[in-house]
């Protein structure tokens, strides 16, 4: 076909359109006469506010006991010098000291490094596995097998990997050393590789979660959009990036949110593996917090650190929720 198709001068009378929408709407939207129905004299009463309050009271009271009370207690502690049995006001010293505490500041840097490495690897590998597994033969069996690391208690996972990394009898240590990737020092004992060591454990344990979430997302990618794009002229790879991936964003955002919050909280395996060492090479902030509070028993300072960690987690979480909302409103 030649260019005449879309040129109004040639194919249609000038100013005429193929679809005369406005005229149609004028036809359809003939307005009815204004209503003459009077408002009812009395409206049926709605249940009182107290009624709703009492319905929610049990849940609020329970929440207050297990969560709100400790939260305010933490704020109280963060403002005081706390000893067993006594607490003295100390003019925000717990907070002001944090700004000069190099281990605290480095803890943040390490936490972001740790979390970003975990997320990047988990999302990358997780999505790849999901795409490979989606619609594969034995999909269900393979997914079940893949999920097994997730079922393990993180502390057990940490211990298992601790033995695998061990410099004397660890299998991975032997493997990497035989491949020439590692010098005499063990993986967790070298400041260069220790961080990678704890990242790998997290990736091993939690990539399946990403795969699972992504698989669920893949099942929801509208087939007709993929097909439309194919007919429009897209190759399979292009189709993945221009249709599948955008449709996956919402689930991936949920995955990112879950995992980054976990990274900010869960330190079981890292604590077992390195305990923050060697030196302070893996002392991510939650580990430092654990040490300050429960090894040195500086409960006031610990509470201050915990509060800053909480605030940053909430802010990051809110940013993600915001992005997520924007994505959601794009859905049909």
């Amino acid at each position: 076909m030649t260019d005449i198709t879309l040129s109004p001068e040639n194919s249609l009378r000038h100013g005429e359109s193929l679809f005369r929408v406005r005229q149609l709407q004028d036809n359809v939207e003939a307005r009815p006469a204004p209503s003459r129905i009077a408002e009812p004299a009395r409206l049926n009463p709605l249940p009182s506010k107290a009624y709703f309050f009492w319905l929610m009271a049990p849940a609020i009271i329970l929440l207050a006991c297990i969560s709100i009370y400790p939260f305010f207690w933490m704020i109280y502690m963060s403002l005081h010098e706390v000893d067993i049995g006594s607490a003295t006001w100390n003019n925000f010293e717990n907070f002001t000291k944090l700004f000069t505490d190099t281990r605290y500041l480095k803890g943040w840097a390490l936490l972001f490094q740790y979390s970003l490495m975990c997320l990047a690897l988990q999302i990358g590998i997780g999505v790849f596995l999901a795409v490979v597994l989606n619609g594969a033969r034995f999909e269900k069996v393979l997914v079940t097998a893949l999920l097994m690391p997730m079922m393990m208690a993180p502390i057990v996972a940490g211990l298992v990997w601790y033995f695998l990394y061990n410099g004397t009898f660890g299998w991975y240590h032997w493997l990497f050393q035989s491949l020439g990737l590692l010098d005499a020092k063990s993986i967790l004992a070298s400041p260069n590789t220790a961080m990678l060591g704890i990242v790998l454990v997290d990736v091993w344990q939690w990539t399946p979660l990403i795969t699972l979430i992504t698989l669920a997302g893949l099942k929801r990618v509208p087939q007709d959009q993929l097909e439309a794009n194919m007919v429009d002229g897209a190759s399979p790879l292009r189709n993945f990036f221009s249709v599948t991936l955008p449709n996956l964003y919402p689930v991936l955002l949920i995955a990112v949110m879950l995992r980054f919050m976990d990274n900010f909280r869960f330190i079981d395996s890292a604590l077992v593996l390195t305990g923050g060492g060697p030196g302070n090479a893996t002392k991510i902030l939650p580990i430092y917090l654990f040490e300050v509070s429960f090894k040195f028993f500086k409960l006031g300072r610990g509470a201050a650190i915990a509060l800053t960690l909480l605030v940053v987690t909430i802010i990051l979480g809110m940013i993600l929720v915001k992005v997520f909302d924007r994505q959601q409103t794009r859905k049909i």
Binding site: M1, T2, T5, L6, S7, P8, S11, L12, S17, L18, F19, R20, V21, R22, L24, V28, P222, D224, Q225, E227, A228, N229, M230, V231, D232, G233, A234, S235, R238, S242, V243, P246, N247, Y249, T329, R330, K331, I332
Partner: protein, 362 residues
């Protein structure tokens, strides 16, 4: 533009044959409608043309070139999906630009063509919006816009207006037909709505259970259905069927029924070609005339069962000895239920079908 040929095309899902030995020749520039109830294989047929389904057996040709093994992107067809299949994360402009972008056209040209197409479809003011901000009718126009920005060999429309409300649907029927005539591109249009097929197509392919029943112009399919199934499927209200005995009096062949005995015209008797026993008589509601007084000519007698006023027309259901038939008449008809009434048949417009195979005698 292209001529599309189906040559002994089969589609099998395991043991189930969705399309059986389909042969259609659709000349260049034709509006072909594939009509049938759900599950008749019409969508499978279209998807094979688009390259979204493997062709189990046989060939599909565009201008005598076999396209079985071409990827969808290399077939140069444009498709409009039942659910529009717009990309929710892209704006209307990006949606419409997609086929051009994927074909590596430069930005300026893409912009020109999308703007032109949007103008033709009167959606120029919507280009920055996203699909979820559009109404059903607007989405559907965007989907059509995405199809026409390119100049494909072939349009494939898969029930594109099935989800619109009745008024808009009626409007779009005219618009799509006008668009196809204007652009002159070959069109394959799948629908389950016989009214859409009748009102838009040059050629209708009626399918049932994977088999092509009849291929012909809307007039042919309506006036000369090849079997009882096509006759019953096309037309609204549906054709009435009555089982009749063939009886011969002197040299005249008649259709006998407890309520009537009507003589066949000589050429119709010829079509029956010595058949004896029972046949199914088919007559459309608009080929019957109803009256409350007995006319002079031979008629069907029955009693009014119920009347349905449709505004400009009235449908009267008439109770006969073993069946009810529907008659289309003027809204002034004044019979009430239970009253005797008399129906006369336009014998140029009745049909007889084999009771077993359903094949039409005339």
């Amino acid at each position: 533009m292209a001529r599309v040929t189906f040559r002994n095309v089969w589609k099998k899902y395991g043991d189930f044959a969705a399309v059986k030995d389909l042969n259609i020749d659709c000349p260049d520039g034709t509006f072909l409608s594939i009509l049938g109830p759900s599950g008749c294989g019409k969508s499978s047929t279209m998807r094979m043309v688009a390259g979204l389904e493997h062709i189990s057996a046989g060939d599909i040709l565009f201008d005598d070139k076999r396209i079985n093994d071409l990827a969808p992107k290399d077939r140069d067809v444009a498709m409009v999906f039942e659910n529009y299949a717009l990309y929710p994360h892209k704006s209307v402009f990006e949606n419409m630009a997609n086929p051009l972008k994927l074909r590596g056209q430069d930005t300026g040209r893409i912009k020109d063509r999308v703007t032109q197409a949007a103008q033709l479809l009167e959606i120029g003011h919507l280009l920055e919006r996203r699909p979820q901000e559009l109404s059903g009718g607007q989405k559907q126009r965007v989907a059509i816009g995405r199809a026409i920005v390119r100049e494909p060999k072939l349009f494939l429309f898969d029930e594109p207006i099935a989800h619109l409300d009745a008024k808009l649907r009626a409007h779009m029927r005219g618009e799509i037909k006008h668009m196809q005539r204007t652009l002159g591109t070959t069109m394959v249009y799948v629908t389950h709505d016989q009214l859409e097929a009748m009102s838009m197509a040059d050629q209708i392919a009626v399918m049932h259970e994977g088999e092509l029943q009849q291929l012909g112009s809307p007039r042919e399919v309506y006036n000369k259905p090849v079997n009882a199934w096509v006759a019953g499927f096309v037309g609204e209200p549906a054709m009435n069927f009555l089982t009749c005995e063939l009886s011969r009096e002197a040299d005249r062949l008649s259709l006998s029924h407890p309520n009537f005995s009507l003589a066949l015209k000589p050429d119709q008797a010829g079509c029956l070609n010595g058949t004896t026993g029972t046949v199914r008589m088919g007559v459309r509601p608009d080929a019957l005339a109803i009256s409350m007084t007995r006319p002079a000519e031979p008629v069907i007698t029955g009693e009014v069962f119920v009347t349905e006023l449709l505004g400009g027309d009235m449908i009267v259901e008439v109770q006969l000895a073993d069946a009810r038939i529907r008659v289309k008449t003027a809204p002034e008809f004044a019979g009430s239920p239970g009253e005797a009434c008399y129906l006369s048949v336009n014998r140029d417009k009745w049909h007889a079908f084999d009771t077993g195979t359903g094949r039409a005698y005339f």
